[in-house]
Symmetry: D2
Subunit: 341 residues, 4 copies
């Protein structure tokens, strides 16, 4: 039985707490910590049988019976907490992104390497049944040599402008998942990025210096070209589709709905909208990523989303930002060189 | 927290044990009992944190801290165990069917009535997301006045001949779920049944006196006609579809798959087969039916599948058997009269 | 070049006239005849380049340059015109049904046999791309041994009560196409029929002595069971689906729409309704059936829908009528015996 | 009745000849001309009732009874024949592209303007039922403000290397249809193009100086961004899909197949491959574009694909070529300026 401590019990911390309690074998949440701990959050913890609730995360790090830590604090805390937890001898699961700063991610990577502890980044979509079906088919050679990879990723609603301002921008906050998907589905690395960004949802997002809509073209080391289309708002819900096309065929996934019921009536043949947003769509994936992390600890195998997997999408995101800003394709070599990688 | 005892930990007993441990809030399995208890089953129980494992179910009934009992023993034990558990003051969840004998079901109904305890029958499909989507649309009046109800229900593989011989026959063992679905989706009662049965899967099933394929037509009290098509074997997996057609439109559901990935290749555009069988297809429904049962206990509300709901499909099944045997439509009145109902 | 005369230029006669002019190679309409010929119909004929327009069909039969006749008059004229045309040495394409009277159909069959002329009945659905895809797969053995055949056939709107009264009843007017489909898809003959009819669309149809909704179960000589569901009105349009299920799999077809466009919006994911009715749905099939008839004449091969194919569905329809009236399964042997067949 | 002459009766010339004979009202092919006229092509013409067959197209231009000319000769002949035919007083339907040379297209535009004759370019996809369904929904405001437009366009097999060498390159030969689609679906103009081209199908195509795979991003005047993905070879057939996403929803189309039959078997749930290539997929569109051209002549209305519509996609194609070659986004302004537009 792996004892887990969760640092940060906002929305995503609670998702993990509940899915560990309900779905993850051989693991239990022993303690949670949050500086804004209150009656409500204590009651939530107790309802899951979690007895230890702290405002100070250091109590979790100091508890020798806790094997692993989930870092679900705000993004700016991800890298310092990662380092501190690893140094305290804990296995670490860190929500994405590790950091917006490449320098800080590099520090985390250094500590991961020397710590001998497991480190996994929260790219939950790798554990989704649909995306996995593509990845497995591609890895098994079913589609032959890859030629074109397409990802559609649209949110049902934009974040608040306050969040937009601290998010690192759409490419680092939202598209980062899609950059990870390109790497995951292709099993290859990105060499060049061209991003065409626009503001079509809310002018305030533009005024905050960000885009809310984008088409991003990525040239891959394996010779394939990937294209991502993003929008911060789709009125019909969370749009999460992908396709890998190759010499032996194409494999594609579409959205999931709460049922497959179809109503044929006077106004057409109507199916349900996609599941609303990431919590609904990736509910099972959240449980499976933690189960996978727990499994890596127990069996002492590499995690399926390594610290390096946490670094790469941030580099791609920085390239996309630069590309959109300068309206030219940006080589990843250029980005790596700038950061001494 | 509702304490539950499970009597019988074969396949379906274990499904319930695991889903309660993993998914059902406000409930825990305190004890299991099985006459064939062995190392393996004890280990299984312990892995879920169930400490009390008995060969004699009476220990469960005698435990005053146990609130509710799940009866997952063989069918011939369902009705006596139901009565004994109710009389011991337990709420009872009983796997379907309550019994093949109408007389025994009547006895159970009598005890349920006087016991003041909750009683729920294991018609799990009522808790499936797809079937529920139809039921809710119909109940909300979306399809208008019902005209035609269609259910396709085909298993991926036939049971063993040994099981066929004691199963009560396909209509009582397999179609019984579809009879329940007709009642659930329509919200109406069956008045007449015509069953055309045949043996197309395995002659040995015919030699055992049963059919393995059937088309069953049911005339309903609300004026609609329902039709069920059954087969004990579909080479592509568990086929579970339904449609309700009415004056304002038709609502239909199709099968679920493990992913919605579609592969376009030289040989066509290939989607995944349906989920293999009932354990895969109705995994969530099994958890939800117990959650619903627990909820009915906690909130003291009627269960969503009553003892009466356990009786009706058996009556319809007996009518279907008689119809297939005599090759004529059988009125439910005729069946009810024969049993003094 | 086959010269064709069309007798009767109501709706279906015009469909054939136009499709021959536009789509059928090696054939042309030389003359049309209709007792209600007027300015409008003459203009229609001229617009297709048809110069000869008569009120008296006998002028068509007397024209030695006309090779073949299409009988598109009212149903009661089908059999006498068939006989007269065959005796005049014409190949005959006759709209369905040949007649409601088995005696009259038998007379037609006798004349067909001795005439040495081609005779084809207008079961247009045999020439539809979707139904053909099923038939070809079944005939090729792709589904293995047939077990269950399902046909859904619902009209977008009921005919007028005046038409209902002379139509011969729903089973002979509408279901007759589905009876033909059962024979066509299965390649087998019907041995027994059970029809559960009801009036759910319009009480006036019931007052006229007919049903407007039905589930018909058919036991086939090849061991399979077929089931047809019919309704005179589906608010979402013409519903024409089918499925053949066998030991190696199931093949099914769904409706066609005017485009496959799907709109994802706030209210769901909306596809188009089915094509409205038979003219839209079977436009190409109407052309292909005549092309097939023309081809049979030119190559001197049997027609793909013979006079015998015209007789069988009427027998099945009579069995269905009797079954619904007497509420019992009716053997086709019983029907055949009654007509000395 | 509009009399038509066809210049060039290779593959596409014959498609038009047959569809005019079979499907286009108020028009007939009076003459065809082809320098390579032979027994075979004369027999083909005669079979359609076309009596006048010439090796010299000037005979068509000299025939005062011929109203309109279809230019189906090789691409290098399109612009000189357009000019000559217009000057001979004929309405002109010209296969795409008008020319690879902007200068020559400009000359054609000048003659079109002064001639007072109809001129239509052969962008057949505008007349396809699926693409039209998107265009109509967009034009009707159903999707709100456009944000993202996606077009997938993949051929089943690459052209010969000989053809590749004279084709003008993939962007001008194949993608040109997709550039037209972007303009047609959006009703807006392209302002900037970024093309990422690669060679993934056949190295010989690369050696011939062309690409066979591409992702092209287009920024539109209306604020939307479009993305096209192309490949010269998809092993599953002709892949022609599109989607327009906007503030009120997304509308998308998928491929057409010869039937919608689906086979569920041991290896999955298998639908048919898309229709093989453009002749199969756009059969009806070819007829409808000529019917539309004929209609514009008869009613003296503008054609639905003007000479200007013939120019724009070539400009976009030249921008795409330049973008791929120089690996930077190219403004259409830059291209227009280079050609004095």
């Amino acid at each position: 039985m792996i004892n887990i401590g969760i640092i940060g019990i906002g929305r995503i911390g609670r998702v993990h707490g509940e899915s560990i309690s309900n779905h993850v074998k051989n693991a239990q949440v022993k303690a949670v910590a949050d500086p804004f701990l209150n009656e409500n959050s204590i009651a939530w913890a107790n309802s899951l049988g979690i007895k230890e609730t702290y405002t100070n995360y250091k109590k979790i790090l100091a508890d020798p019976t806790i094997d692993a830590v989930l870092i679900c604090a705000s993004t700016d805390q991800h890298s310092p907490l990662s380092i501190e937890a690893l140094q305290a001898g804990k296995h670490v699961f860190c929500e994405k992104p590790i950091d917006h700063s490449i320098e800080k991610i590099k520090e985390v990577l250094k500590v991961v390497e020397t710590s001998g502890k497991k480190y996994q980044v929260g790219f939950n979509r790798r554990f989704d049944h649909n995306f996995k079906a593509i990845q497995e088919a591609v890895a098994a050679g079913q589609i032959g040599k890859q030629q074109i990879i397409k990802i559609t990723s649209r949110d049902p609603e934009p974040p608040s402008i306050d969040y937009v301002k601290i998010s690192g921008g759409m490419f680092l906050d939202m598209t980062i998942h899609d950059f990870d998907m390109v790497r995951y589905l292709s099993g290859s690395e990105v060499e060049e990025v061209y991003a065409a960004g626009s503001v079509t949802v809310d002018p305030a997002i533009g005024q905050a210096g960000d885009v809310d809509t984008a088409i991003i073209t990525l040239k891959l080391a394996n010779g394939a070209t990937a294209v991502i289309d993003n929008c911060r708002q789709a009125c019909y819900g969370y749009d999460q589709r992908a396709e890998v096309f190759g010499t032996n065929g194409a494999i594609s996934i579409k959205n999931d709905s709460s049922s497959n019921a179809v109503f044929s009536g006077k106004n057409g043949v109507v199916a349900e909208k996609p599941l609303f947003f990431f919590l609904e769509r990736y509910m099972n994936a959240y449980a499976d990523e933690i189960a996978s992390f727990v499994n890596a600890i127990i069996k002492d195998t590499p995690t399926l989303v390594t610290a390096q997997d946490g670094l790469e999408p941030v580099l791609i995101g920085l390239a996309a930002q630069k590309s959109a800003a300068e309206n030219r394709p940006i080589s990843l070599k250029e980005i790596r060189a700038a950061y001494g990688l």
